[in-house]
Point group: C2
């Protein structure tokens, strides 16, 4: 069916256009030029079974491509998976059939489980452009039935890899996020491993926050582990602290997140589907969920927390995942350090039992580790917390962490605290009455975290502390002048601290 | 506030990324590289008052940019409006404040007129990415109050240029679209001009259809007229048939359409706001609206037509625009030719009064011209249609068209019918019982229309005609082999005709 004029040789163009596939064709390229494909801006590029859809950009610079070539941006080239110079057929893309279902959802209909699965399947195959993903997300944000949320979670878990540990009890803990410095996983995992439960933890890198567990763990050890390496480590240590991105768990989730974050769409339904699909794909059977609640946290009131808890419980229960929701204090950052190096320092201080280790981080980690240990049928009910404290105090947790670090290997680069710094001081004497989690996270991010592992914020006082006028509230660390200037400018504008005289 | 490391020299990159602004920075460019801007993918590029936001792509090919340069795609470069090599500051873009209002709309709230105006204003300044525009459109598709539709229409009309003709009666006609070959404007305008009413018509080019009025008129005359040239022509001829894109009427509409079309969002509210904002900006006072109704048309039932008519009447009335809605037959294509050259042929055959001119095109044009002439207070009520027929029969309309063509000047290139062709034949003897407007439009489009003005479809029979087995139903014309192959393959798959034995 395809005329020979629509065969092109592919050429990689070193442009990163994440999350989108992009292709480049010259304008007026002879017979049937790029403009003819432009009506819907999407083309299909294929050879045999290999096929991708890509957004088309039209080149007016003839030097970038030879005649008969089509350029592919980094994402498109990688996803098509053919060698440079391969001949491919190019055609106007057919919109994925599931877009009709998105349109019905926009029109107010409720979708069947199979329809939601078709949509998620097409999204995971990169057939949706960001604007089409936004259309789906916004239509869902308008209204989703519980059955739709369940179907969405199941569909997301079923595309991509699924880890299987062949263990009756695979535990995990997860925080719904939003609280800077809340790096409890790196304390909970060694405690639970020391006790002997199975806790193969995969974590994400930060997208809009100053650090994710994978970023902070990478200060101490290698986190970029293949599935084979993870299996080896878990077989010996019963635990791992790895980056989940390498093993392709719930890839649709990553694609949805790439649109949710810039649009700041953060509905309960999407949160449930995102978190639970990743856990199901990771082979988790028992999960402790941490809900920090506070005025600048994700959950702001107890009625909101209850509704969200019930939705999590219903969906998890229907999918055979046991969950235990723990409400915690989300009124201010946890610990002192924010940013990979500073957080790793706090985590190790807690594991080492240092006298000045941040007490709130230790207490919060023990609370969560206690709930995880309570999943162990061998433990007497309610003994989890005491057992966790014992494993921390005895040094067993520290030893487990050291074994994990040794097993995962050294980090790809040595990270040290950023040498550039600036102190933000109290404008008046008084008591710290509030700390804005959002603001502190943005300042740490501008300083360079998590890309610069040594950048971040070191908090010197917390809510309730009494300060003198001019006393330092926190110190911004940066690796580059630019990061320091940006962060400093934002802190000058508003520090994120409220000090009441 | 900005450190010197964030000053770049701009360099134009000849890549057309319509509708989006794109910017290119090298990865790991020294101190504060491109990756640090990637969290939200949008950056702000500014120098003094000149400022744009752009989506960032990261270059891994160091040869495209010199150190210290930022690349701007064609749209970004044009919209920033600075010379190549100008120094600009680059910062993480602040999302436009109006996005919070979009988020409230997603959450089910009704927006105030001023909030809708802020959103439209930011969209017209290219501050929204396609995914953000999609979020706004889908949120609106869920529910819009009549007051919101009115506010949207007004806001869209108020950004961009506004033509002012200083005439009490500025008439126009507009079809809501969807019917191939329905090129009545090029007959109505000369009839109305011959009568002496003021009809300065601006039309669009096709986006997803095989031809727009501007594309077809361009076969006969130049349509790319400056406002000054339009004014001169209208002063003498009382009419013009120009491309509206040149004069920047309701630019927000063009941006919204660039997202609505690929998503196929086509709600009554968006249709009303799109059409009426363009007419208000064009200075129209009295408008005849053509609603073709049929199984493959935009309006499919009379109850739908009545609801849509009332919405148009309410919004137009509130904005001081007189409208007259005409329901017409949208069950099949109008005329014989589809595509610029073929449609121009039909239009001229009607104006010349040729015996074999398509009767349905003539009748439909006379119906609409009659309604337009009925706006003339000098005419006796109901005499419009007879007056229109008289002006067509006498040759006055043809003479008016010839004066317009002479005034607008010759087309930029001579367009002739595509020499390549293929006939699609009846699979059996019988009666043509239905013609699918969508399908016929897509086949004509694949053949190359409207880019290749000589490409398109020539219909040999219409609904109700009796055909023998193997008799030609229509002929596909193309300029390029590729177009012919594509169109032919699609017609082989399904011709768009139903022939009942």
């Amino acid at each position: 069916m395809l005329p020979p004029e629509l065969m092109f040789r592919i050429r990689a163009i070193a442009i990163d256009t994440a999350p989108e596939n992009m292709a480049f064709l010259p304008r007026g390229g002879g017979d049937y030029g790029a403009e003819r494909f432009l009506a819907l801006r999407k083309i299909e590029i294929s050879r045999g079974d290999a096929s991708i859809q890509a957004t088309l950009a039209v080149l007016d610079d003839p030097s970038l491509l030879e005649p008969g070539e089509i350029g592919l941006g980094a994402q498109a080239f990688r996803r098509l998976g053919l060698a440079e110079g391969s001949e491919v057929a190019v055609a106007q893309a057919q919109p994925p059939a599931s877009l009709d279902m998105v349109r019905r959802k926009i029109g107010g209909e409720t979708l069947a489980a199979g329809e939601i699965a078709s949509i998620i399947n097409d999204i995971s195959r990169h057939l949706y452009s960001p604007m089409e993903i936004a259309a789906f997300l916004v239509a869902c944000a308008g209204f989703m039935s519980t059955a739709e949320t369940l179907a969405l979670t199941r569909a997301m878990a079923e595309v991509g890899a699924r880890l299987c540990w062949e263990q009756p009890l695979v535990v995990d803990k997860h925080c719904i996020g939003g609280i800077p410095g809340n790096r409890t996983s790196m304390i909970v995992v060694p405690i639970v491993a020391a006790h002997g439960l199975f806790i193969p933890k995969t974590s994400s890198r930060a997208i809009t926050s100053p650090s994710g567990t994978a970023d902070t763990m990478e200060v101490l050890a290698n986190v970029d582990l293949s599935l084979a390496r993870m299996n080896e480590i878990v077989a010996r240590e019963k635990a791992v602290l790895a980056w989940g991105g390498r093993v392709n768990l719930s890839p649709a989730d990553d694609i949805l997140i790439s649109v949710e974050r810039p649009l700041r769409i953060d509905t309960p339904d999407q949160m449930v589907a995102s978190i639970l699909s990743k856990k199901l794909a990771a082979g988790v059977t028992h999960l402790v969920l941490d809900f920090p609640m506070g005025p600048t946290a994700k959950v702001r009131s107890s009625s909101e927390a209850v509704r969200l808890r019930k939705l999590f419980e219903h969906v998890a229960g229907s999918l055979g995942l046991v969950i235990d929701v723990v409400m915690s204090d989300g009124s201010q950052p946890v610990g002192r350090g924010i940013g990979p190096v500073l957080e790793a320092r706090d985590v190790m201080a807690v594991l080492r039992g240092e006298a000045d280790a941040p007490a709130d981080l230790r207490d919060h980690a023990l609370l969560l580790a206690g709930h995880v240990l309570d999943f162990d049928p061998e433990l007497r009910g309610g003994q989890g917390r005491a057992r966790a404290a014992e494993l921390l105090a005895s040094g067993a947790a520290l030893a487990a962490m050291e074994r994990l670090m040794a097993a995962q290997g050294p980090p790809p680069a040595v990270a040290t605290l950023g040498a550039l710094h600036h102190e933000v001081c109290a404008p008046r004497a008084g008591r710290v009455s509030a700390i804005d989690c959002h603001r502190i996270a943005r300042i740490a991010r501008l300083a360079g975290a998590p890309m610069d592992k040594g950048a971040g914020i070191d908090l010197f006082c917390k809510v309730g502390d009494v300060v003198t006028a001019g006393a330092p509230l926190y110190r911004i660390h940066a690796v580059h002048d630019t990061g320091l200037s940006y962060a400093r400018a934002m802190a000058d504008d508003a520090s994120g601290y409220r000090v009441m005289a």
